[in-house]
């Protein structure tokens, strides 16, 4: 970590804990490499970089910080030689110096990524200043690769069944000739249908005896045949799409299919209802819906789709525009109505009637069918038209910018991808940061701390292989804190389990196998156990095999301070119960007891929040049977020392 420079300070400051600690402290890890800090020369393709060895040691899980760089040591020139890009190496070395990794903008993204992988640095560490840029470039690169892949994919067709082929043909017309033909045919018929609808209403030439009639009424049969043909084509197309869709339900819900349905439905309804004359008025209105056929063109035009998408995404701006317009219209209509109320034969008969005037004025249309006559009316009318310009001009830039934004960046998909990636990035950084705590707990569980004390050669090597000196010093510091407070660090899992067990165990069991209390070294700590003979203990302590690999260790628990404890306690784990733990109280040669068992006093009837010393509690709260076969005897000093040893 970057604050490796301050670790000696933190360790020195730990002297402040010593007078309050009641136990001896663990021995500090030996620093056999007493060499002074020296300059290392890193030769990267001829360019020499020099730095202190301790600078590189800050990040022991990278290439330069670990012993992996010894592979690159050149004896002849006494330098570490790397055959890599020196420009990219600059930012990598700066990472060691400053703790922040920067992405140089002119660097190619894939080359930079390769360098990072080579030197063992994860890209998530890139500082916030450069991370956006890095991610953008990376995403562009990936998209480019994906586009290339898709083009290639179109060439090779894995065997798809008929249905999938059809769907693909519908969605990407340029995949096969048939699809292209289909695409153009439907487009043609949409155009025909629309033109037919339009021409239907044009007055054709009049015959001698009749007035001008719209063509639709003159050539009814022809138009009817045309209409039928188009509707048949559209129906067939719709049914084919429905058949080919991978998810029919989703397809039926999609906008395009609704447009299809609305386009052909009036015809069928008309077929059904043509006999009934009363409903013919409604039937005529239905024909209006035929104009929706024009929306079918949006399948054929990318631009239309983007326009529709833009409007959808600008919905909030449009809604706001509508709302503010409505407000303005109501205000001005009211004002105009009351201003014009006095004048005679005014067109402003009511406020809703004035709405029309306001709208026409604000949009600068000015039909002139309604004009104010009074002076006040004219004044307010001019204010109305001036403000109309402002209000109408507001949303247009928004919509335009939205359109261009969507068109260029395809932003919504990226945002979704970025969200996932951001979460993943944060998770990765969190993992690497919590790595330090986890290594401490992990090492504790594996008893590596005990190894450090024995100090033999092989153990030293074993230690340095798994943890660097820096790490072991940090762990020693945390260990000292544990000793000072006589509590141990555990991870969340064990803590939850521990609290769960103590909560669940409200009734002591008659089983004789009692687990012992926490393996702390201090009898002082366990003093609290005594006033609670009714303390609940789990009857059988299930040893989760994944947590305590005790079988491999011999952790010998040592009591300190208090003499002679008569522990008749047994744990269901230890085989040598009375192995006298009094090995060495001097010199701090102790190990931790790895076993962490739930401590009895965690469940106290008086609850937490005590500020004063715990009183001698009444022997049992109601409901607890008296018989508790705790075979821990208490010495006169009130200390109840239990030991655990395991093989």
């Amino acid at each position: 970590m970057a604050t490796a420079a301050w670790l000696p300070f933190a360790r020195a400051a730990a002297i402040g804990w010593m007078p309050v600690a009641n136990c001896p402290m663990p021995v500090s890890p030996m620093d056999n490499s007493k060499r002074q800090d020296e300059l290392i020369i890193l030769n990267v393709s001829g360019r020499r970089f020099q730095t202190w060895r301790t600078t590189l040691d800050r990040y022991p899980d990278t290439l330069l910080g670990s012993s992996e760089k010894d592979f690159f040591y050149n004896e002849d020139i006494k330098e570490y030689f790397f055959d890599r890009d020196p420009d990219a190496f600059r930012s990598i070395l700066n990472f060691y110096r400053t703790g922040k990794l920067h992405y140089p903008r002119q660097q190619c993204i894939s080359a930079y990524d390769e360098e990072l992988i080579f030197f063992g640095i994860i890209p998530e560490i890139i500082g916030d200043c450069c991370y956006e840029e890095y991610k953008d470039r990376k995403r562009e690169n990936i998209e480019r690769l994906q586009d290339d892949q898709e083009e290639n994919k179109d060439m090779k067709l894995p065997h798809m069944n008929f249905r999938e082929t059809m769907w693909r043909a519908f969605e990407n017309p340029h995949t096969s000739t048939m699809a292209l033909v289909f695409y153009y045919v439907t487009g043609f018929f949409i155009a025909i249908s629309v033109i037919t609808n339009v021409v239907e209403t044009v007055p054709c030439g009049s015959t001698a005896n009749q007035k001008d009639m719209p063509c639709g009424e003159r050539y009814t049969v022809a138009f009817f045949c045309m209409d039928t043909a188009c509707v048949m084509i559209f129906t067939v197309e719709y049914l084919m799409r429905l058949f080919a869709a991978p998810s029919r339900y989703l397809f039926m819900r999609s906008v395009m299919s609704i447009i299809d349905v609305v386009a052909i439905l009036p015809y069928y309804i008309g077929l059904v209802m043509s006999n009934n004359e009363d409903v013919s008025g409604a039937f005529v209105t239905l024909r209006v819906f035929r104009v929706f056929r024009i929306f079918k063109f949006s399948r054929h035009s990318q631009g239309l789709r983007i326009l529709g998408y833009t409007l959808k995404s600008c919905a909030s701006e449009l809604g706001f525009l509508l709302f503010s317009l409505t407000m303005a219209i109501i205000i001005f209509a009211t004002v105009m109505f009351y201003a014009e109320k006095g004048s005679s034969s005014t067109k402003f008969t009511s406020i809703p009637a004035s709405f029309w005037y306001t709208i026409v004025t604000m949009t600068t249309l000015g039909y002139g069918d309604m004009v104010p006559k009074t002076i006040a009316g004219k004044i307010f009318g001019s204010i109305c038209s001036l403000s109309g310009v402002l209000v109408i001009a507001l949303p247009v830039p928004v919509i335009v910018s939205n359109f261009s934004r969507i068109y260029h960046q395809n932003q919504r998909a990226d945002k979704r991808r970025a969200q996932k990636v951001k979460k993943a990035r944060l998770a990765r950084i969190r993992i690497s940061k919590s790595g330090s705590t986890n290594t401490f707990l992990h090492n504790k569980r594996n008893g590596l701390q005990s190894v450090a004390l024995l100090g033999s050669e092989e153990d030293e090597q074993k230690r340095t292989k798994s943890t660097s000196l820096l790490q072991s010093q940090h762990h020693h510091l945390l260990h000292c804190l544990e000793k000072t407070t006589a509590h141990e660090f555990v991870d969340e899992q064990m803590y939850e389990q521990n609290s769960l067990e103590t909560v669940l165990q409200t009734y002591p069991s008659p089983s004789p196998s009692i687990s012992s209390s926490v393996g702390t070294c201090c009898g002082c700590r366990v003093k609290k156990n005594t006033p609670l003979p009714n303390a609940s203990l789990p009857s059988t302590y299930p040893v989760p095999s994944n947590q305590c690999p005790l079988q491999e260790l011999s952790a010998i628990h040592i009591q300190c301070g208090d003499p002679s404890s008569h522990t008749a306690s047994r744990s269901n784990l230890n085989l040598k119960t009375n192995e006298s733990g009094r090995i060495n109280c001097k010199g701090g040669r102790i190990t931790t007891a790895i076993i962490s068992l739930p401590s009895p006093p965690a469940l106290t009837p008086d609850g937490d929040g005590l500020r004063g010393p715990p009183q001698r509690r009444p022997p049992q709260p109601p409901g607890h049977p008296a018989a508790l076969s705790i075979q821990t005897t208490t010495s006169s000093a009130g200390t109840n020392i239990v030991k655990v040893s395991a093989l």
């Binding site: 002297i15 926490v518 002082c524």
Partner: protein
């Protein structure tokens, strides 16, 4: 801006003219240069090389040459990820910042370290006493010790075994006073403290623990 633009910015109508805060830029960062290497060598027990390496680390973390309390807390908290080390860091900061200037200079830093790593046991005990004596009046009261103890227990965090109970610091303080307070007057003086500590084997042993840190 002068002359004002015409037509006036529409926001002029809506918002009152706000002060432009540009003039309020942070003044140049305070920078501190330490005393020369020779003076520091005379004041402390470190060799030249040790002082050099210490300064490099110090300057790397705090380029301006001064450590303020917030930075100090941040740095110290990184060593204790499971708990909350800020309160203890606050006390530690006050122990190092001897002239109560609100920031630790390199001289304070290195003089403090010299006592801790190269000083005699009595000096170290004095330093510890100074740490516990929050108001520096020469007496450690129960409240002061309680604050220190709570802050140490805070560093352990939530996930400990056994769980830290609310009265754990209190009990620890009680024991401490039982041991140290000879004349039972409710405070611990420096002499009681040093005397008691010198009689305790464990404490004497642990004082020597960090000899070889640098």
């Amino acid at each position: 801006s002068f002359p004002p633009s015409f037509p006036p910015h529409p926001c002029f109508l809506c918002f009152p003219l706000t002060d432009s805060c540009d003039g309020d830029l942070e003044l140049s960062m305070v920078r501190h240069q330490p005393e020369g290497l020779d003076q520091l060598q005379a004041q402390t027990q470190f060799t030249r090389k040790e002082l050099q390496s210490l300064y490099r680390g110090f300057k790397n973390e705090c380029p301006s040459g001064l450590v303020d309390e917030e930075t100090f807390k941040t740095i110290y908290s990184q060593f204790f990820p499971q708990g909350d080390a800020t309160t203890y860091a606050h006390f530690l900061f006050n122990a190092f910042d001897m002239d109560r200037s609100g920031s630790i200079r390199f001289e304070d830093f290195v003089i403090g370290l010299s006592v801790l790593l190269r000083g005699s046991v009595t000096e170290k005990l004095r330093w510890a006493f100074n740490l516990y004596d929050i108001n520096k009046d020469g007496y450690i009261t129960k409240e002061e010790m309680m604050a220190i103890m709570t802050s140490i227990y805070d560093m352990m965090g939530r996930y400990t075994l056994p769980s830290v109970r609310d009265d754990s610091p209190y009990e620890h303080v009680e024991k401490f006073f039982q041991k140290m307070d000879r004349n039972r007057d409710g405070v611990v003086t420096i002499d009681e403290f040093i005397e008691t500590c010198q009689k305790d084997e464990n404490i004497m042993a642990s004082m020597q623990l960090f000899e070889n840190v640098i």
